[in-house]
Amino acid sequence: MADARPQGCALVTGAARGIGAAAARSLAAAGWPVGVNYRADADGASAVAAAIEEAGGQAVALEGDVRDARAVDSVFGRLEERFGRVLVLVNNAGTRADGLSPQLSDEEWSAVIETNLSAAFRTTRRALGPMLRARFGRIVNVASVVGPRANAGQANYAASKAGLIGFTRTVAVEVARRGVTVNAVAPGFVQTRLTEGVGDGLVAAIPARRTGTPEEVAACIAFLASPEASYVTGATLTVDGGLSA
């Protein structure tokens, strides 16, 4: 580990696949022991943890639905017991339930808000105490370009991601003087299971003329989680091939 980094570990929510899995791998490669949280995909999370360990890192798969505050406590407790205090938190767990607003159900609205926004609040609340005491913390919230930018059929998703960005900014200023940074990454069109079937025709609108990879987003997460990013807080790093420019 770098000298500037205190003893501790990282937790990535929704890390069984996609951006979360890539973030777990990047953080492990940077020297952090990593908790690979998953809700249902035990095989995926185990594979991510195993790959990290094969590459010389440390990881543990941790089941827990982060929409549930008790599950959040349990995930943190198990991870702290294994690798010590959590000093890096990546709020990546996310879901979609698309539909035009007049026809979105209460369940479709709530499911997305609870997973994408409320869960991030619960994990952040739990993480901050030890980070404040350590005088070091890195929280990275995986938002989206959908939030600041409209996307018809995703009012719930957009609200959750815009909310996550607002949450990021406010928590950042609350804790900045304790050496805890809170930032967001805003991926554009990144090929993961979450974006399957979404706008194959969108590539032509992306200046980079291609979709992004989970590894490209993970690299940004790893930077924001690093000791070197100590003066970056309350920021949103857009990773979208120029789509929002």
Binding site: G129, L132, R133, V175
Partner: protein, 83 residues
């Protein structure tokens, strides 16, 4: 799960905690108000974290908002530890 603690133990944890946060130890007396000590809200949050780590007593935002003096904090933690 909190274990029963004495008032002296709680006073020590709170006094040491506030001193660690930069407040003058001689000024940390039961009658001192957090306002007089100029303790800000983030310091109170961290003090609550110290109490949880040292004594196993959890204090929520509503608890912290009610505290006016160092003595209030000591009394609350003693009461919670015993319940």
């Amino acid at each position: 799960m909190p274990t029963q603690v004495t008032q002296d133990e709680v006073r020590k944890v709170i006094t040491d905690g506030l001193a660690e946060l930069g407040y003058e130890r001689g000024a940390i007396v039961p009658d001192a108000t957090f306002e007089d000590l100029d303790v800000d809200s983030l310091d109170l949050v961290e003090l609550a974290q110290i109490v949880e780590e040292e004594l196993g007593v959890e204090l929520g935002s509503a608890d912290v908002a009610e505290l006016r003096t160092v003595g209030d904090a000591i009394a609350l933690v003693v009461a919670r530890a015993g319940s």
